[in-house]
Symmetry: C3
Subunit: 485 residues, 3 copies
């Protein structure tokens, strides 16, 4: 074919030359900005131990990546063949090379997906492998990856430096000891690697593992939690402890959005029934809705930024969950009603200048209908970036198209990579930066934004807004009191 292909270095910057030229210029102005990563799932143990190394390629890029697992599974490849061990101890592929090969034999499945874009960029920019990955060169690439991943240059802390990751927040259970974070702090990494307070397991009264989680909470608090008041006090205490280790945020994952204020008597009654294993599903839901309200109340007091991620029905494939556990790519989104669901919480706390509430959705129809209007009104509300399935070229475009005209840019919370795989973090930020710059370039060409504003917004989207949203220090060590300044 006659047309000259777009070069790899210009990917995602535009489909026409003028777009690409302008987008590239914006992109060049942000590409060397540090990475701010205020939400993700990198295992903190890897960072705590200076001698740790990232897993071998198959585990790192396949078995441990639920985006990749689900796609291969959708085409009939069994999870055991991909190195996911059944809970019952049944057989599982243990040859990491074979796992990698199965993935590369099926690369075409990933055409057009962000997974492939991230993989290509990671191989090129992190590992220096510019050649396109194919089934045929998979073995050779494997060897290279395996070797480098073992080297000191690829030790997790070394990668934080190489990637210019200014701050990385992990996600940690409320009942976690935070041993690794303590060690990081002792080693002087406490400002860069921060925990995030996630109490879902202990507030989910309706979950089968709730009493176990509560026991862990008792253990870490070193006392019995026999009533609701003690439960609240324990959570407040844990939040305080998380803060001493650098936490600036809490994280809350819910299937549907419900908030409600129970009286202390009601809350106590449900809590007692739950302790006896007698709480109904409806009581559990009301308690969880109440705890979301309570968490906002605590945020008003202790200043932890509150993140709500809503809309994922976890473990939709129940059989697979029983066989393999969670986080293997079987979560499916549902429709949301943020407007009514958040109303009680916002009525109480939405105007409070101490509260910062970041909302993330998997239901894109709520971008323009609910989230941008909420963020464009309530001082407390900021809008989180496109999440999970939507952290992709079209997903980012739809997000900016849908929210910016109502919420502006300064009610957005910047970008979070949500990554589990440390080596993929630069690629995920890079896609965001490319796509936002391309989007801004089109606005400039359309005459609805001037170049000066576009450049400032590109920089804010790249890292400024995230710092402000998560109350992280900026280049001058200052913490903003307002999202826009």
């Amino acid at each position: 074919m006659a047309s000259s292909p777009t070069s790899f270095s210009d990917r995602l910057l535009g489909a026409s030359k003028p777009e690409r030229r302008l987008a590239r210029s914006l992109y060049e102005s942000v590409t060397n900005l540090p990475i701010v990563s205020p939400h993700g799932h990198v295992p903190v143990e890897l960072l705590a131990d200076p001698e740790a190394r990232l897993g071998p390629p198959g585990r790192l890029f396949v078995s441990g990546d639920h985006y990749v697992l689900r796609m291969l599974y959708s085409q009939g490849i069994r999870l055991e063949e991909l190195g996911v061990a059944p809970l019952d101890g049944g057989p599982v592929e243990s040859d990491d090379r074979k796992i990698w090969q199965r993935f590369t034999d099926n690369l075409e499945l990933f055409a057009g997906t962000p997974s492939l874009l991230w993989m290509a960029a990671t191989l090129a920019n992190v590992f220096g492998i510019e050649k396109r990955l194919t089934s045929a060169n998979a073995r050779a690439v494997y060897d290279l990856l395996a070797e480098r991943l073992q080297s000191a240059d690829f030790a997790p802390r070394a990668l934080l430096d190489r990637f210019a990751i200014e701050v990385l927040a992990t996600t940690d259970a409320a009942e976690s000891e935070l041993e690794s974070h303590r060690r990081l702090r002792e080693d002087g990494w406490g400002e860069r690697v921060r925990p995030t307070f996630r109490p879902d397991a202990v507030t989910a009264l309706g979950s089968v593992s709730w009493s176990e989680s509560l026991k862990r909470l008792e253990l870490v608090c070193e006392r019995e939690i026999g009533d609701y008041r003690a439960f609240v006090a324990a959570l407040e205490e844990r939040r305080g402890y998380f803060k001493t280790l650098g936490a600036t945020a809490s994280d809350h994952s819910v299937e549907t959005v419900r908030t409600e204020r129970l009286s202390e008597t009601e809350a106590e009654a449900i809590f007692q029934r739950a302790l006896r294993g007698e709480a109904t599903q409806d009581e559990a839901r009301r308690f969880e809705a109440h705890m979301l309200w309570e968490m906002a109340r605590m945020s008003c007091e202790d200043g932890l930024v509150m993140q709500i991620r809503a809309g994922s029905m976890r473990d939709h494939n129940r059989g697979l969950k029983e066989h393999f556990g969670s986080d293997i790519g079987a979560d499916i989104p549902v429709a949301l009603d943020w407007t009514r669901g958040l109303q009680p919480l916002l009525a109480a706390h939405g105007d409070n200048p101490r509260l910062r509430l970041i909302l993330s959705t998997l239901d894109e129809s709520t971008y323009s209908r609910e989230l941008a209007p909420l963020a464009g009104h309530y001082p407390a509300v900021l809008l989180g970036p496109p999440w999970w399935f939507h952290d992709s070229r079209n997903g980012i475009d739809r997000y900016l198209d849908s929210v910016s005209e109502t919420a502006g840019f300064y009610n957005l919370a910047g970008f979070v990579d949500d990554a589990r795989n440390l080596v993929a973090i630069p690629a995920r930020h890079d896609v965001w930066r490319r796509v936002t710059c391309a989007w801004l370039a089109r606005k400039v060409l359309l005459g609805s934004l001037d170049e000066e504003n576009a450049a400032r917004i590109a920089s804010e989207l790249a890292c400024g807004l995230a710092r402000k949203a998560y109350r992280l220090p900026n280049e001058r060590g200052e913490i903003s009191s307002r999202p826009s300044s």
Copy 2:
């Protein structure tokens, strides 16, 4: 940066040269067409009094503009500082210059929003201020604006002429005296400035202010309204009176879409309970659903075009409502079910050639799913333009993309500006005209529409469709019987 920026005069017309060239040619063919404004919220008193002047700049562009208020509020600026007076008589900024300055100090918040586009176009085209507004030149601009707004050239009636506003409909409570409209009619302005019949306050049985509104209705009808039959008769009488003052439409705002036909006995029973303050919320909802049905029935008889605007939860921020009242930017949309909600009304009246029912939504997911199919089937149904949060460049694009392939163009109701601020009306129509022309130009370049059709549709979208939809006379004084001709 190297790329030449898009000139202000070409804004929104296209991101590439061929698009821009073709769009400009379409735009030039419609830019001088008169403005038809069949729905909005300009205070009619301003137009009734030849000596009236528009408020000072701060009040006009900030305190009175809920788009601007909500954005500044979302970043922690208190409404009192923006000149919004608390209901309890508490302190409020009364220095109009300071209000203006606060706005201009925060202009960056509005980057990419329609508010900024409207503002820039209004300053340039209405006030001759071409220089970009900044925090620094805010004082000088204020002086200019204040002076001009006081001059006779900027008297509201003079602006109607200057803006070539062929017709402007205001929105008036069913229980309004219409004193100002009477005066306009006496002065010979009755064909140009028309009232719209909005009965929401008297049909909202569940509202705390319902009995007050009913009393006002009794007052204006000069008789007691002691039963349901008298209530219906009063509304019919008022509609008739609105028509004598030029009204061609009614307007109905609902949070969710529900229509239902109560028997007269049921309606009467609920009405009696409401008079005694004993109606339940569910009864009130059923009565309101029934009144929507009744309003369609009346429209079939008296020919008033019926507008339904659905999907806004008014006063989501209850505390702010108690402190400042409504319309201060705290309304948040919810999801809608038009298909089931309108079914009873459409079963009865949807095929009636006398009924014209214009539907507007804040839930964009209903554009392609429900509204375009409804408009593309029922003779009575027309689809209103992108509304409120969606009256913006991307909003208009999404609207045309979503509805035109199913509803065509002749089941659309054209444009309404929904403006409160008279001086902003040209800018709002201008954005619509630019964006529709740019959209049509892309379709021509894509080969899915020919230029001849595109030019005709551009003109229809600019004002033809609105005239037909609202049964307003065209250039030749004719009123169409069918939306498409």
Copy 3:
């Protein structure tokens, strides 16, 4: 105007030259691929009878096309005037020329709709009428069309050859005799024209015509169906018979998605109540939800590909339904919840490699939120193409934009034309091929897909995926066991 218009042959390929150039090259590589049409509504009788001819132009393009009927009806043209006969035997236009003329007099209503694109392409490519259809040349065009439609060259079987239709599936009631399909098989056309098993009428316990449909099922099975077990056995038997005549798929149309597993006792109890006309609406709904589950179970056993089309409220205009019957353009979509609705079915069968479940929606908000994630996880699930109102240029773009990044391309089921009018089939596939190629070209220009992949995907979207999804033989007569290979 100055810009050179896009030529008819380049329509839909792109709005800029580079796009158009690349898209054309992709399009040329697929334009001569055979047509695979695994779902549609062409009347099988037409194909069974070698002497049959397609109806006269008015009937073929107007009275029989619910897309056209609804649009004309929406502008106040009565269905009787368009040749749709009232059920009560009332008067109806019987002059086919007048019907055609009424349509052509209103062509502007169709500007921008797929109906007009299909019509123009059909006239040009099937009938050799390149000149644009207008009200003025309608009579001359009519004569030409009428003459050609009568000629042997336009006999339905001749058209299958001319159009290179490799396979065409019709949609047939479970209780159908399949007489025509038997004849086609005897004539050696059994591989090309295949039935599809649609049991909706006999599983819809809540429908007024259920007992009639059940009687027809008894008749065709030649025995009484007095209990639930006999009912299930009858359906299994019919599926088997459909398979002997070439069926590879079943088709299920539901308003909302509900699946549920009843015990045999419960199912029997409801069935018995239904036989006595005593089943409640809720029981009927539960039974239908159960039957969907059962159909998936049968598919696991007999290998028929299961299609679910959800989200259309049939006969929204009840009055029109009573007057004219169904399928006259009065069906309106509703919002869907696939995630919760399908969960019971997928929990039981979603991992079964024997099941292939193709999902089609009229609620586009479920594309990215539910359907792409479901297809991108469950081995059984494939995502059907844009359907009905969304089988259009923008509809296809939105579909690819929304689903491809999550589901990839190999979890898509390719294209189905869903056509009733045999002569329109090439135009419908042609629009799909043009729009998919243009979309792919933009991705290549953006650098998110390489040309080699784009060409392969273009070909898969054109016919490869449909063959695999529907278990139809490919060029080499092989039937794929996996959607992607």
